[in-house]
Symmetry: C2
Subunit: 309 residues, 2 copies
DNA sequence: CGACTTCATCGTGAAAAGCGATGATTTTCG
DNA sequence: CGAAAATCATCGCTTTTCACGATGAAGTCG
């Protein structure tokens, strides 16, 4: 922006333009003053200041009961001034809308994480703030970056200057074709050597597989895919079992699936933790603040009973 | 205009928005202050005032050498604020252009009056101010009205609250077919009973005809038209003579015409007076002021020698 | 931990805003 | 023609705001 060009405009005050507009409509300094809640002398001085700023008279004052009239310069100033006032009103409106919670919010979501949570959050947010502009981005770099996002869902901690809140613990469960294992909890060691399908080694997946390995079981990963439905189809096809977080299983509608069985693991694996992140030290928009609250609510409602299957 | 909506916006100053924009670009209050010619503490207080006005922080100040960043609210305010600043610049530009003489001017001209003067005035005005917007209107009510015109040419005085300047005396001359009269001045009484063509009875025409009548001569008006070329064609065709102002004769190119002769009248008739009018008490635009000067110049150059033919 | 950078705050003097009262000028009306 | 009314400008006056310089508080970096 070129600030040199603003040299004398900087002295123009919106108050003065508003006074000028009121005078132009009323035809009198005094009536304009009454309308604006000033005294006549104040308005007189405001116009004097404006005329000093633009370097010329903006009204001809005939004196007596004749209405004042815009000078040609005054017409120019008022034309442009009205546009400035319109922009000022637009600013006020935008600020009001922003405070009311409308506005834009950028949310990052990664991988299969929160394909259950996020839709509910978006739904409630849109219901509360029909005018809001919600943007989602699902990128998957090596290290998730908060970048310019307002909020970022991720199943793990993020380094950088970031604050976070844990939304829920998402326990790992075993999904297997009916008949593979007897109903009920499955000991972790049964997975040793078992054919399994699994997610790619991103996000929490490496940690989970390390936990399995630490228990001594060495399953045989026969297929990796990030697509849950594909994995579950493979399970149904007898290709192998899968250890998936509860959210992913629920999201795919497994409990109502005839061929699939869901088993708890014994001992249970460390649950995947779902976090919501945002940049530290940044002031939230009202919308972002509300989104965090909603995400916590949704997570609480979704939270699996500690030990049910 | 709705002034109630401006309640809190009225407290926003362009200075503060300019400071905000500079800070957003520089990333620092201090550098922005240096750029704007303020001290850091002043800029700090300006932003504080702006934040008071919009009711929320517009920058996050991380402290230390980290650059300050816009809050979400700040983004909203700055987006709108930049538009306000752009309008402010537009105002400054418009005022500058106006002062430089660009802008609009409305000029009224009546009847055949000033079909010689006005083109030269317009030409010079346009040469000096290529960007100017010149509007001419040629209306002919019973009483010419200044209305919203900046300038009004008329061959007589106008009542109302009007100032004026006399541009020139436009003497009446006799135009006749070659051979009708001997070369040289023609006594007014020779017109008694003579066939003549003439303008309609508007503007100065009635006054002129009354002057002729007062001299005792009673010419016979055989045709009236406001179109000079038509009148002169009739003179050429032997239909009759014409008493026309010098400007009209000059405008039609008569002196270079083979069949027509131009005679002075003895005694001469009171010259038609060409005035330029404008509303009293109204401040001129620079363009209007210059137009008046140019009109006077043009008139002076056109002024006929007192007694030549 | 100390040097450095950054913004906030404090105190001060000057400037300006806004007010009420008064003045000057013009129109209107008796 | 003169009195009344209406209008904007101006003059003190008080309160607020502006801008400054100096100092303080908080963070980063070596």
């Amino acid at each position: 922006m070129d600030f040199a060009r603003l040299e004398f405009v900087i002295d123009i005050e919106l108050r003065h333009l508003a006074a000028m507009a009121a005078i132009a409509e009323e035809g009198s300094f005094g009536r304009a003053a009454a309308r604006l809640g000033y005294t006549q002398s104040t308005v007189s001085q405001q116009i004097a200041a404006l005329e000093r700023a633009v370097g010329g008279l903006v009204f001809d004052r005939p004196g007596g009961p004749k209405p004042v009239r815009l000078t040609p310069l005054g017409s120019v100033v008022l034309d442009q001034g009205r546009e400035m006032l319109a922009k000022a009103e637009a600013l006020a409106d935008a600020v009001d809308r922003f405070k009311a919670g409308d506005g834009r919010i950028d949310i990052g979501t990664f991988q299969s994480v929160s394909n259950v949570i996020l839709p509910s959050v978006v739904r409630r947010l849109r219901d509360e703030h029909p005018g809001c502009d919600i943007r989602l981005s699902e990128e998957e770099p090596e290290q998730p970056q908060i970048g310019d996002l307002d909020l970022l869902f991720y199943d793990g901690r993020i380094d950088g200057d970031v604050e976070h809140i844990k939304l829920l613990d998402d326990p790992y469960l075993l999904v297997a074709d009916a008949g593979t294992f007897p109903d009920g909890p499955v000991p972790l060691e049964w997975l040793d050597g078992a054919p399994m399908v699994a997610w790619p080694l991103t996000c929490d997946q490496p940690l989970m597989e390390q936990a399995v390995a630490r228990s001594g079981a060495r399953p045989q990963i026969v297929f990796r895919s990030a697509v849950n439905d594909t994995l579950l189809s493979m399970v149904r096809a007898g290709m192998g079992s899968a250890v998936l977080p509860w959210l992913a299983i629920r999201g795919a509608g497994v409990p109502s699936d005839g061929r699939l069985r869901v088993h708890e693991l014994r001992p249970s694996l460390p649950a995947r933790e779902i976090y919501l992140h945002w940049r530290a030290g940044r002031t939230h928009s009202p919308l972002a603040g509300r989104a965090i609250e909603i995400a916590v609510e949704v997570a609480a409602e979704l939270a699996p009973p500690p030990a049910s299957a």
